[in-house]
Amino acid sequence: MKIILRVVFRCLNSIDWPLMLILFLLTSVGMVVMQSAVGGTDARFADQARNFYVAFFAMWIVAVTPPQLILKFAVPFYVLGVVLLLAVMFVGDTSKGATRWLNLGITRIQPSEMMKIAVPLMLAWYFHRREGTMKFLDLCFASLLLLVPFLLIVKQPDLGTAILVFGAGFFVIYFAGMSFKLLVPVMVIGIIGIGSVYVNQDTLCDDNFDWKVLHDYQKHRICTLLDPSTDPLGKGFHIIQSTIAVGSGGIYGKGYMNGTQTHLDFIPERTTDFIFAVFAEEFGLYGCVTLLVLYLLLLLRGLAIAVRASNHGERLLAGALTMVLFIYVFVNIGMVTGILPVVGVPLPFLSYGGTALLTIGIACGILMSISKYRPPQT
C-alpha cells in the first residue's frame, strides 16, 4: 500500500503542474476546434483523441526520466537521425514530389520529424561538454552539426520541418552565447532581404526568373504570398480562403460550429495546417488573442523552466525547445493569416497529426524532466 502511494506520488511529482495546466487548456481548445473542423461525425476526431493520449503518455515517460539520462541519448539519437536522413535521400519514398519517408515494411517513418528533438539535444549536449572552454571553433562545429541535417531536410524538400530544425539548433547556439555582434547584422540583412523581395516582387516573380537556391514550388509559394490574386484557384486559393475565413470571423466570431468557410469546404487542409482558420472564423478576434495568450503562457513557463534549470546543457535544451514551440505557432498562424508563405508547419495542439503531437509531447516531457529533477541544493 505504501509502495503504491509512493509510486503515485512519484508520478504526480514528476509533473510540472503549471505547464500541465496550460497543456490541458490547449488540448481542450484543440479537441473542441477539431470537432468543428471535422464537421460532426468523423473518424479523425477519435483519432486525434488517441493521438493526445499517446502524446501525453510519451510526455510522462520522458518526464520521469532524469535529464542527465536524456542528454546521454543525444549522440546516438543524433547519429541515428542523420543516418536515417541519408537513407531517405537514397532509398526514401517519394510522394507529391518530396522524398521524406522511409519504408520500414511495417510502417513509414519520417526521420526529419525526430531531428526537431535530436538537433537541439545534440547541440545542448555538445555545449554542455564544452562548457567553460567555449571558443569560436566550437561555434563553427556546432553550426556544422546544425547545417548537416538542415540541408538534408531542405533537399527532400521539406521547408517547414527544415525551418523548425534550424530554429531549434539556432536557439541553442544563441542561448549558448552567440555574439550579439554577429546576430544583429544577420537580422538586419534578413530584414533588408525580405524588404527587397517585397519591393522587387514583379521582377522576382517573373516566370523566367530563376531563384537558383529555392525550388520552383517554393518560389511560387512566396510569390503567391506577395500577391495571392495572381493564382486564385491554385496556390493562392489556400491563402485567399484562409484570410477570408479569419477576417469574416470579425471580433466575436461566427460562433462554434457556425463557420461557413469551414463547414462549406472552403478552407483547404482545415483539420491540419489550416485549422487556425477554423478557430479564427468561429471565435473571432477575442478567441485569437486568447489563444495567443495561452501560447505565450506556455512560452513563458518554458523559459522559466530554462532559467531555473540546474546546469548549462539543460538550460540550453529547455530554452531551445520552448522557442521551437514558439516558431511552430508563429509560422503556422503567420501562414494562415497570410503574412508568411505556405510551409507545412502544424499548429501545436490544434492541428491533426499523431507524429507532430508526439514530437511536441516529448519536447514538453523534456521540459518537465528538467523542471523537476534538480540536484540537491548545496
Binding site: 562548457e131 484570410t243 493569416t337
Partner: protein, 643 residues
C-alpha cells in the same frame, strides 16, 4: 569550486539576459500576429465577410410556369406537363465518352441524343447544364435516382415541358416554343429582358406563342442557396416564387376549327371566320398544317426536311402570308365604292355583250358568256365581269384605293399573329414607288379595268378579305381582328379583353349597304353559290371568286388539261345571317378551280356548324356539297383577263 560557481553564476546571468531578449522577440512576433488579426478581423471585416458570403451563397433562378392557351370554350391548345429530364454539367462529369458508356445500362441514351448533346456542348460550353435526355418515364427516373451517386455532374430534374394536345389542328394559330437561340438571346438583350429568362430554356417561336411571349412567359423567381465549395447546395436561405405566365383565352372555337379543317379534306388553302361585331376570329385554317409538338425539343432532321421541302408548304401560314388576287370576291366592294362615290347608281343598266372594249382592247367575260342588260344587283348575282370592267375607269384607281383602304385591303389588319404580309392595294403612287424605270412607273388606264374585277396588281391576304367581309357585314364598323380574346391572370382569373372597342368606322350609307347585301344574299339563293346553300335555314350573303394562277392568252381555260398546281384558286366570301351577321368568312382553296363548287361548300359546313350549334339535336337536312349548280351561275365563272 568557488571559481566554478562564480563562473556559473555569470553564465547564468548571461543566459537570463538572452532569455529575456528571446521572450521579447517572441512577444513582438505575437504582437505582430495580433495586429494582423486586427487588420483582418476589424479593419477588413466588411470586405472579407462579404467575400465569405459570396463564397457560400448562390442564387438560382426558378423558371416561371408558362401560361396555358385555351379556346373560347376552355378547350386546351397549349399546356405544360411535368417531365423528367436528365441534365449534365460536363465540367463536373469528366470524360463524356466514359459517362455515356457508364450511363447506357442505367438509362438508354440514343445516338441522336448523344449527337445533340455534343452539339450543345460545343455551343454552350462545359459549365452549363445541358439536357441529355427528355421525357424519362417514372421507371427510368426511379432507376436513375437509385444509381445517381455513381454519376457526378448528372442531374435528374423535373421541369415543365410544353405540349400541344390538339396536334395539327390550329397548329398555325398556336405556333410553338423552341430552345432559345443566339438570335433570340440577342433580341432579349436588346429589350433588356435577359434577366427574366434566366433558368428558362424555351421561348415562343411562332404563332400566338411568339406574339404573346411576354404575357405567357411570366416572371422568374429565385432561390438563394448555401453551397459548398464544390457548388453542392446545402440549404435554402430565401425563396421568391416565380410569377406564372398569363393564360390566354382564344377567340377560336376548336369545334368549329376542326369542322373547317376537315372540310378541306386533302386540299390546300386557308379559311378565316370572324365574328363581325367583336372581331373575334372563330376559325383560322391553314391547310396543310403541321404538328407543333415536333418543334419543342428541336425538330429532328428528317421531320424538318419533310416539312420544309414539301411542295404543299405546310409551314406557311397561308391566311396572313399568302397574297392572292382575290378575283370576283372583290366585286361587292367595288360595287359599294361606285355607289358611295356616286359613280353609278344601282339601277343604272349596263349592256353586257360578253366583253368590254377599252382603247381598242377586248376584256372578255369568263367563258365569254353574254349576260345582256344588267343592273348592279344582277351583275353581282351572275358575276358579270363586263359590268365591273366598265366601273374601273369610271371610279379610277386612286379613288378605289382610298375607298378600299379603311376596309383593310392592302393593309396590315393588325391581327395578333406574327408574319402578316401587307399585300398590294394598287394606286398610281404605289406603282411609282414599286418600279424603277419611268416606263414601268406609268399607270395605264387598262390596268384599272383588271383591278375592278379583283385581278391585276391586286394582292391581298385571305385575312384581309375576311376582315373586309366582316366590316361589310358589320355596316362599316372595323373591329380589329384577334385570335386572343382575353388575357387571364393565372392567380385571380381576372380577364382582360385584348380588343374592347372599334378601331374605326367606314362611313357607309345604309341604302347602299342594302343594295350590296341583298345582291349577295341572292348569290346564295339563285346565283353562283346557290348549290352550296340550298336548303339552309338561315340567309347567307356571299360571293364566289376565282383567282388566277396561270394566265391564258385568249384561249379557253380547260382545268383538266393544266398542271394541277397551275389551276385557279377557288375563293368564297360570305356572312350570315344576312340581317344580323354572326359570322363572316373568307376561304381560298388552292388550285381547286371554280369558287362556287369547292370553296362555298366548305363555308356552308362552317356556317351550319356555327349558326345551328344550339340546334344540334335537330339535324337540318343539308344537300351534298357538290350539288348541281344552276345553269346560269355555272357560266358566270370569274374572269380571265387579257391584258
Amino acid at each position: 569550486m568557488f571559481d566554478f560557481k562564480k563562473y556559473d553564476q555569470q553564465q547564468k546571468n548571461n543566459f537570463v539576459l538572452r532569455v529575456i531578449v528571446a521572450a521579447l522577440f517572441a512577444l513582438c512576433c505575437f504582437v505582430l500576429l495580433s495586429f494582423r488579426f486586427w487588420v483582418l478581423q476589424v479593419e477588413r471585416y466588411e470586405g472579407l465577410s462579404a467575400r465569405a458570403d459570396s463564397n457560400r451563397l448562390a442564387v438560382v433562378p426558378i423558371a416561371p410556369r408558362r401560361g396555358e392557351i385555351v379556346d373560347r370554350n376552355g378547350e386546351v391548345l397549349a399546356r405544360n406537363y411535368l417531365s423528367y429530364t436528365l441534365e449534365v454539367v460536363p465540367a463536373q462529369a469528366g470524360n463524356i465518352d466514359e459517362l455515356f458508356d457508364a450511363l447506357t445500362p442505367v438509362v438508354f441514351v440514343s445516338a441522336s441524343e448523344q449527337r445533340r448533346f455534343r452539339r450543345r456542348l460545343a455551343e454552350s460550353g462545359k459549365y452549363a447544364s445541358i439536357v441529355l435526355r427528355n421525357n424519362l418515364n417514372e421507371t427510368e427516373a426511379a432507376f436513375f435516382s437509385a444509381n445517381a451517386l455513381r454519376f457526378a455532374g448528372v442531374q435528374l430534374r423535373a421541369r415543365w415541358v410544353r405540349e400541344y394536345p390538339q396536334g395539327k389542328s390550329a397548329g398555325h394559330v398556336v405556333g410553338y416554343v423552341g430552345r432559345i437561340s443566339e438570335a433570340d438571346l440577342a433580341m432579349l438583350e436588346e429589350r433588356g429582358e435577359t434577366g427574366s429568362y434566366r433558368g428558362t430554356d424555351v421561348i415562343g417561336k411562332k404563332g400566338i406563342e411568339k406574339t404573346y411571349e411576354t404575357a405567357l412567359h411570366g416572371r422568374p423567381g429565385l432561390e438563394e442557396l448555401e453551397v459548398t465549395s464544390r457548388g453542392k447546395p446545402v440549404r435554402v436561405l430565401r425563396r421568391v416564387d416565380p410569377t406564372p405566365g398569363s393564360n390566354l383565352v382564344l377567340s377560336l372555337d376548336m369545334g368549329l376549327q376542326r369542322i373547317a379543317e376537315e372540310a378541306f379534306k386533302d386540299l390546300r388553302g386557308a379559311l378565316v371566320a370572324i365574328e363581325p361585331a367583336t372581331g373575334d376570329v372563330l376559325a383560322f385554317v391553314s391547310q396543310p398544317s403541321f404538328d407543333p409538338n415536333l418543334f419543342i425539343d428541336g425538330i429532328d432532321v428528317e421531320s424538318w426536311r419533310l416539312l420544309n421541302e414539301s411542295p404543299d408548304h405546310p409551314l406557311i401560314n397561308r391566311p396572313v402570308y399568302g397574297t392572292y388576287p382575290i378575283g370576283s370576291t372583290y366585286k361587292p366592294f367595288v360595287a359599294l365604292a361606285a355607289l358611295e362615290l356616286n359613280k353609278r347608281r344601282a339601277t343604272d343598266l349596263i349592256s353586257d355583250p360578253g366583253y368590254f372594249e377599252f382603247g381598242g382592247q377586248r376584256f372578255r367575260n369568263s367563258g365569254s358568256t353574254a349576260f345582256g342588260t344588267l343592273d348592279m344587283y344582277r351583275a353581282l348575282v351572275v358575276s358579270s365581269d363586263t359590268y365591273f370592267y366598265s366601273l374601273g375607269p369610271e371610279i379610277g384607281v386612286n379613288n378605289l384605293h382610298d375607298f378600299m383602304k379603311p376596309f383593310g385591303f392592302g393593309q396590315l389588319t393588325g391581327i395578333d399573329i406574327e408574319g402578316e404580309r401587307r399585300g398590294v392595294l394598287p394606286s398610281t403612287e404605289w406603282k411609282r414607288n414599286a418600279y424603277k424605270t419611268r416606263e414601268q412607273q406609268r399607270w395605264y388606264a387598262g390596268e384599272t379595268i383588271s383591278i375592278a374585277v379583283g385581278q391585276g396588281y391586286n394582292a391581298f391576304t385571305l385575312m384581309q378579305l375576311a376582315q373586309a367581309t366582316a366590316v361589310l357585314a358589320n355596316d362599316g364598323v372595323y373591329m380589329k381582328p384577334h385570335l386572343v380574346r382575353a388575357i387571364k391572370n393565372p392567380r385571380t382569373d381576372e380577364q382582360t379583353l385584348t380588343v374592347a372597342s372599334a378601331e374605326h368606322k367606314v362611313p357607309l350609307k345604309k341604302e347602299n349597304l342594302q343594295v350590296i347585301k341583298r345582291a349577295l344574299a341572292e348569290v346564295t339563293v339563285s346565283g353562283t353559290a346557290a348549290g352550296a346553300f340550298s336548303g339552309a335555314s338561315y340567309a347567307t350573303a356571299g360571293k364566289t371568286g376565282t383567282a388566277q394562277v396561270y394566265s391564258l392568252r385568249g384561249a379557253n381555260y380547260q382545268s383538266s388539261s393544266i398542271d394541277e398546281r397551275l389551276r385557279d384558286h377557288s375563293l368564297f366570301m360570305a356572312f350570315a345571317p344576312v340581317s344580323d351577321p354572326k359570322i363572316a368568312i373568307a376561304v381560298i382553296v388552292e388550285n381547286a378551280g371554280w369558287g362556287g363548287s369547292v370553296a362555298a361548300p366548305i363555308v356552308r359546313k362552317v356556317f351550319d356548324a356555327w349558326l345551328l350549334r344550339d340546334k344540334k339535336t335537330v339535324p337540318v337536312p343539308v344537300r351534298q356539297t357538290n350539288a348541281t349548280v344552276p345553269e346560269t351561275s355555272r357560266m358566270a365563272v370569274t374572269p380571265r383577263v387579257t391584258p
